[in-house]
């Protein structure tokens, strides 16, 4: 029998029990935010956490290809824009029906992601990253050029999507809709990454040469994953448009794609909840830094409020150079 050597604890194995507990904690906290918001009379918390869940959803979608599939897309903000403008444009023509918004958004997202995916996936490495960025920028300029739909200033949306009896004008209802979509997507992804399809994706990340040598044609699977991740971002965009009653080219800026990546890495690539946790950390940090009263001398407090991006940028660089598995992964690592 071959001798087994090497440190078996070389790869930290996070116990399933710990992960389940952590997941329940996060989900539970999110479910209870409205309660806390109404108790503490802080209605703005509802909006803040709605935003957190929406960006968490988008980051979750991107993570399918980035974390699980090793495709570094720097252009997923494009699909958030498609979702937002689907709602905005239809609304501008008087169509408020949520199902219509959903249908158009998903159809446009499907067409765009198939086309763009087919072109981008023929390349890899640096080229892939740059091309996805370029396509998102193209969409940004397209939106800016659409003067009839607000152009650079963005498109205000008169009313929120109507889904039958569901009244999204009620912020609480909207919050729980976003929550439901997030939970449903989390569960669907949980099944996905452990299915045969998910294994092909993960194998292609681990050792693409070996995958081909085994007989897997990886392109169809990567394309499918890309499309799925894009559609999740479309959903996030639609919810964002409903939350803000606004569709704007700014949703598609290159910096949004960068922020999504930051959220994913902050939270941890290798887990499903990581991106959601990362989104929370990122947006809460933004919120705290721009309004905290730390009592610092020499007007540093004001400087922090105006220029918190400086600190955030520095944090991103430090996290990149330092933390390898993200905050969520680091927290879950077993203590030796």
């Amino acid at each position: 029998m071959p001798i087994v050597q090497g440190d078996a604890s070389a790869a930290p194995v996070r116990t399933p029990a710990a992960r389940l507990v952590a997941a329940c904690l996060v989900v539970g906290l999110l479910a209870l935010v409205p309660v806390y918001a109404s108790l503490g009379a802080q209605p703005s918390y509802l909006t803040l956490f709605s935003r957190i869940m929406i960006y968490g959803l988008a980051a979750l979608g991107l993570n399918l290809v980035l974390g699980w599939g090793a495709m570094v897309s720097f252009g997923h903000s494009l699909y958030i824009g498609i979702g937002a403008y689907a709602v905005g444009m239809l609304s501008a023509h008087g169509i408020d029906n949520g199902f219509a918004h959903l249908g158009v958004g998903l159809a446009a997202g499907l067409a765009a992601s198939l086309l763009i995916g087919l072109i981008c996936l023929r390349t890899g490495g640096i080229a892939f990253i740059m091309i996805t960025l370029a396509f998102a920028q193209m969409a940004y300029f397209l939106a800016v050029g659409l003067k009839n739909y607000g152009g650079d200033d963005g498109l205000p949306i008169a009313g929120r999507s109507t889904f039958g009896p569901l009244d999204l004008d009620n912020n609480l209802v909207l919050y729980y809709l976003i929550f439901a979509v997030l939970i449903a997507t989390l569960y669907a992804f949980h099944r996905l990454v452990h299915s045969r399809f998910g294994m092909v994706l993960r194998g292609s990340k681990s050792n693409p040469r070996r995958m081909a040598a085994l007989g897997f044609a990886t392109l169809p699977y990567q394309l499918a994953a890309y499309v799925v991740s894009a559609l999740v971002c479309v959903l996030a965009g639609m919810l964002l448009a409903n939350l803000t009653s606004f569709a704007s080219p700014a949703y598609m800026q290159w910096s949004v794609s960068g922020e999504l990546i930051a959220m994913i890495v902050l939270g941890g690539l290798g887990s499903l909840l990581g991106p959601v946790v990362g989104a929370a950390v990122w947006l809460l940090l933004e919120e705290v830094l721009s309004s905290a009263r730390l009592g610092l001398p020499w007007g540093l407090d004001d400087m922090l409020h105006d220029h918190w991006m400086l600190l955030l940028g520095a944090i991103v660089v430090l996290v990149t150079l330092g933390l390898k598995q993200g905050l969520y992964g680091w927290l879950l690592e077993p203590r030796k």
Binding site: P2, V4, Q5, F197, V200, A212, L214
Partner: protein
């Protein structure tokens, strides 16, 4: 019955002729060893057989089908399984999952999005069978990161078997192994002989002469001799070019 037929294979890298009008024939069930000094182009040959490299000229027929320019994954589906000079497995997973990948590859498409793959018996059972074949069944749950070098190489062989191939391309499977480990691999290959066509690239001469039905000797990308081990041992051209006059082989 001829399984693999290679005719006039040529590979040029700019001005360098790595494969020089090579002919090779492997019969079903035959273990055909390819030996030669370093730089003779043995791995380049395997790369062209598996599809990692495309030849500059020549033809490669697998059971009559022309696969000369077929991509890697299509050749794998057609029945060619390959082990690499530097072990190529999935380090983030355990041994069983590694082999399950190989089983899954041969089972049509993988557009199944809901059912968990890890518990799928149609993947586990053939994977366990392949592990038993190479004698690694007890290590099924070990993370690959914890395996010794020799065990990893055996895992790779288990993965090639799980593909249910017709032709095995083994690139120095015994490299870096201890004497004991090499003996185990030789025993394994003895068990596999007759069931698959095998192209074995190796430097371990004991193993080659113990296992091979035929041996091709490659020097500067060109086969200078092809025959049974005994014929090769006695061939003066081979002795001069490769084995060296001083070496006495029993």
């Amino acid at each position: 019955m001829t399984l693999l037929q290679v005719k006039g294979l040529v590979k040029r890298f700019g001005g360098l002729l790595a494969t020089d009008h090579l002919d090779l024939e492997v019969r079903a069930g035959e273990l055909h060893a390819v030996i030669g000094p370093n730089g003779a182009g043995k791995t380049t040959l395997l790369n062209q057989l598996s599809g990692a490299l495309m030849p500059s000229a020549g033809t490669i027929l697998l059971d009559g089908d022309d696969i000369t320019f077929a991509p890697v994954h299509r050749r794998a589906r057609a029945g060619i399984a390959r082990s690499f000079q530097i072990t190529s497995v999935f380090p983030e997973f355990d041994v069983l999952q590694n082999v399950m990948f190989a089983v899954q590859a041969g089972e049509g498409h993988s557009f199944s999005f809901w059912k968990p793959a890890a518990q799928d018996r149609s993947l586990r059972e053939p994977a366990m069978a392949a592990l038993e074949e190479v004698g690694m069944a007890s290590l099924a749950r070990q993370p690959v990161a914890a395996l010794a070098h020799g065990a990893r190489r055996q895992l790779e062989i288990a993965m090639t078997l799980a593909m249910r191939p017709r032709l095995l391309l083994l690139d120095e499977p015994m490299a870096g192994m201890s004497h004991q480990e090499s003996l185990e691999v030789v025993a394994l290959l003895q068990r596999l002989k007759g069931r698959y066509g095998i192209v074995l690239v190796e430097h371990d001469m004991d193993a080659v002469f113990a296992l091979a039905d035929r041996v091709s000797v490659l020097v500067y990308g060109r086969p200078i001799a092809c025959g049974t081990p005994r014929e090769i041992q006695e061939d003066p051209a081979v002795r001069a070019a490769y084995l060296g006059d001083q070496e006495e082989l029993a």
